[in-house]
């Protein structure tokens, strides 16, 4: 199927394209990190709260986790504004098209995020109000988590759809765009990244010196909680590699290249030492969870940066031809615009000549023609009718125009024209009667 080729906005980019691309990759990574911590926090809080039904200490943990969500969710939103702005700038023809094609769900992001945030606040700020109705409290937490998980799927659908203009004509509404190749697999990859990054974050967070004082466990040991998060981090890493491979195999050919493949492999390789260290820390006696923690974090950070670059590389590959075609069409369209505008200017000069022959014509067209047609009664009466009433009486028309009233029951009242001088009104009236 061929892709529709729109024209670009004919204004220069505000900065060199390369600079905008680097900015985009950087701010997007920061945004997505906080998104992971926000969603992961909500998920872990829910899980801990459910475990808290049996082991009350987990409920305390769930509350502490929600406190991180309050901060991370605000940073996720605010850090998302810059990538949105840059995507708007760099990919206007593609991004606006894909957004419109899933427009109702895209717009729904705003109320859905608002609702998720309000639920998160209700969940956290009213914690003690729910002590006797844990079902309701867990229900709120579950709804909040589900919303947090649905919203990225909408984003994923949009950023995937914008990559493939040749799919646009096939899409009717959000769900058909969501079922395009790769969206759901990429989403799975995203969710496992969420678990991975948030559990790593909570391993660090529960290892802070002040944590023990903050959380005030009665039975639970901090080390058990940390192992709980650590196990999730390890499992999610394995899952992340598997889903990553599936995404790679199923990616549409449009954006594939050797460079992209090498980047992905590099990103995967960087993680391998981290997996080895994590496995040792989890299974070998004598190893602590904090062993090599900085190195592990560095591995994941490097992998995230390489993947961020690869992701951008795929997008550029996929859209390369479309962008070139758009640029070409935009130049040609501008030439057509220029040609037509010169033609129109010549016609306007000719029209001016006839205007000198017919004084009042321009003024009539500007001020009166919308409501007074030559032969048809439009808003006001037709010229034919007016001419019959005011035959040889241009002064009558002038007088009426200076203080108009309402004669016909089914017409609107005519507005006055104080800005026109008597001479102009007279010229118009004479033109009307001569026409």
């Amino acid at each position: 199927m061929t892709a529709p080729i729109p024209r670009d906005i004919p204004l220069p980019l505000p900065a060199p394209e390369g600079l905008l691309e680097i900015l985009l990759i950087a701010v997007f990574l920061v945004h997505i990190l906080f998104v992971h911590l926000m969603i992961g926090g909500s998920m872990f809080s829910l899980v801990c709260q459910i475990r808290g039904l049996k082991t009350p200490d987990y409920e305390k943990l769930a509350y502490r986790i929600m406190q991180t969500v309050t901060v991370n969710k605000s940073l996720a939103v605010v850090m998302g504004v810059a990538p949105l702005l840059i995507i708007n700038t760099l990919y206007a023809p593609q991004f606006y098209a894909s957004s419109a094609l899933i427009g109702d769900m895209w717009m729904a992001v705003i109320p859905l995020v608002t609702l998720a945030f309000l639920l998160a606040y209700a969940h956290k700020f009213w914690w003690n109000h729910f002590l006797n109705i844990p079902e309701l409290h867990i229900g709120i937490a579950a709804l909040e988590t589900v919303l947090f998980l649905v919203i990225p799927l909408i984003f994923m659908t949009n950023v995937n759809l914008m990559l493939f203009p040749e799919y646009w004509p096939k899409v009717t509404g959000f769900f058909s765009a969501m079922l395009l190749p790769n969206v759901l697999l990429r989403y799975l990859h995203f969710v496992s990244a969420t678990v991975l990054f948030s559990s790593l974050f909570f391993v660090w967070w529960s290892g802070r010196k002040t944590f023990r004082v903050e959380v005030q466990f009665s039975e639970l040991r901090v080390i058990d909680v940390r192992r709980f998060f650590y196990a999730f981090a390890f499992g999610a890493t394995i899952f992340q590699i598997l889903t990553g491979l599936m995404v790679f195999v199923s990616l549409p050919a449009q954006g594939m290249s050797w460079e992209f493949t090498v980047l992905l492999m590099l990103g995967g390789l960087v993680v391998l030492p981290a997996i080895w260290w994590m496995w040792q820390n989890l299974t070998r006696p004598g190893h602590l969870l904090d062993d090599n923690f900085k190195q592990i974090l560095t591995c994941f950070a490097c992998a995230a940066i390489v993947m961020g670059i690869a992701r951008h590389d795929y997008r550029e590959n996929a859209l390369e031809d479309h962008k070139a075609a758009i640029a070409e069409k935009t130049i040609n369209y501008q030439a057509a615009v220029k040609e037509a505008s010169e033609e129109a200017q010549l016609a306007a000069i000719k029209a001016k000549e006839t205007d000198i022959a017919l004084p009042g014509a321009t003024a009539f067209n500007q001020n009166c023609a919308a409501c007074h047609h030559a032969t048809l009664p439009t808003v006001g009466p037709a010229l034919e009718e007016i001419n019959a009433i005011y035959a040889n009486d241009p002064a009558g028309i002038v007088a009426w125009t200076k203080s108009p009233g309402k004669k016909r029951p089914d017409s609107m009242k005519m507005p006055g024209f104080p800005q026109l001088s008597d001479a102009e009104l007279m010229m118009i009236s004479q033109y009307m009667l001569s026409h």
Binding site: G103, V109, N332, A336, A370, H373, F417
Partner: protein
Amino acid sequence: MDFPIFHIDFIGNRMLIAVDAILHVIINHALAVGALPVIALLELSGIRTKDPRWDRLAYRLLKVIFIITTTVGALTGVGIWFSASLINPAAIGSLIRVFFWGWFVEWIVFVAEVSLIMAYFLSWQSSGRTPEAKLKHLRLGIFLAIFSWITMAIIVAILGFMMDPGNWMSERTLISGVLNPMYFPQLAFRTTLAMVMGGMTMICLTYLFTRNDLPFRTTVLRAISSWSGIWMLALIIASVWYYQVIPQHMLANIPVAVTTQEYVSWNSSLKWLLTIGLSFVGWVLWSSIRHPGQVHGAKYLASVLLLFAMLGQFERVREFIRKPFIIGNYMYANGIRVEDYPLLQRDGILQHATYAGIREVTADNKVAAGREVFEQTCTRCHTVNGINSIRGQLKTMYGDKPWQPEVIAAYIENMHGARYFMPPFPGNKAELDALSVYLASQQKRATAFNGAQTNGIPIPDKISASTVYGTLPNLANPHGEQQ
């Protein structure tokens, strides 16, 4: 033209943006710009008087501010981006190309604002331990108030620029937005209005939160009322200033005389609302300073609502004077650039619209082609059946008499002369006829109108998939072959 047409026929595209934007600006002015200084003031009073009730009240008020601004407030701000890019992508895309760095700086200030409100609110409880920590915390609050004002000051520069048609064509920089003669009066008006709104909103909440401690209520209400009263005086001066500068400046920019009349009537409705609103709010504040315990809460609430209405009307007038353009003299409200008109009026808009399904009007396809023309040229502002519906407009004009396509066509052709806020019709004669046939067909049996989010887009034809135009050479690729 260059984007699939998103359309919601019930509430209408304009109303979607309007609801989101008004909600955002009310929350921003009343709860961020105007209320945060009050919170810092209350915290300061708490430190000075060593009475913990001040601090507790300030924290409770801040909690409300925090919850609303970081949810509905922040998201409606993002929502303006979302809705604008769905409804008029050509316009917002053009503005972004020009104001990118303005918005980028605005984003950095916004990051600072959000970080500060989190730091201020979340460290409130722990900052009470030592007097030094408390003073540091108060300083956070003052910074926060300043940053939220700066966010507004930047956005007013962008808004002011969009209202100044002349400059868009010549110099497209943010500085010229700031130097715009309307910038300072508008900023002064918004700042003072926000301060009074913020003060009044905090008064309302205080009234609610102190219902069990009436002596304290009296003290606090007097303090906030005095603070708001000072801003009220400034607001009166700013309104007069605004009123002396803006109308003249705007009137100088309005080309059509009928526009002037309409503008004057809009502006005088704002003037009346301002006069009545300011007198009422001023009176409430005055009685609240003199006898703070005796003013009923309903009067405070009415004041807040009046202030919201004043802000809403102010925004409507500001939006109104932009028409028929969305970007002064550059792009009409229908998303079509002024410079494209000659081409579109000569060849027809359907010939050049990337996502149109019909290219030529024939005797058999008039209703269907007219629907496409309607979609391309009218739907940014009008619906078929919803708010600002075209059926409603035609009914006002022609009532229950049969709607005649020729009459409708004759009207639309010259409509921009009498209805200055309407852009000229951008298509050719055949398309005008088709549009009129389509509109007339909607009198008895209106067909449901869905946008691209439901219908999708047509399979690309030769025009949509090609990069060259008619007999024109391919300028982008002078050595290449023509398609």
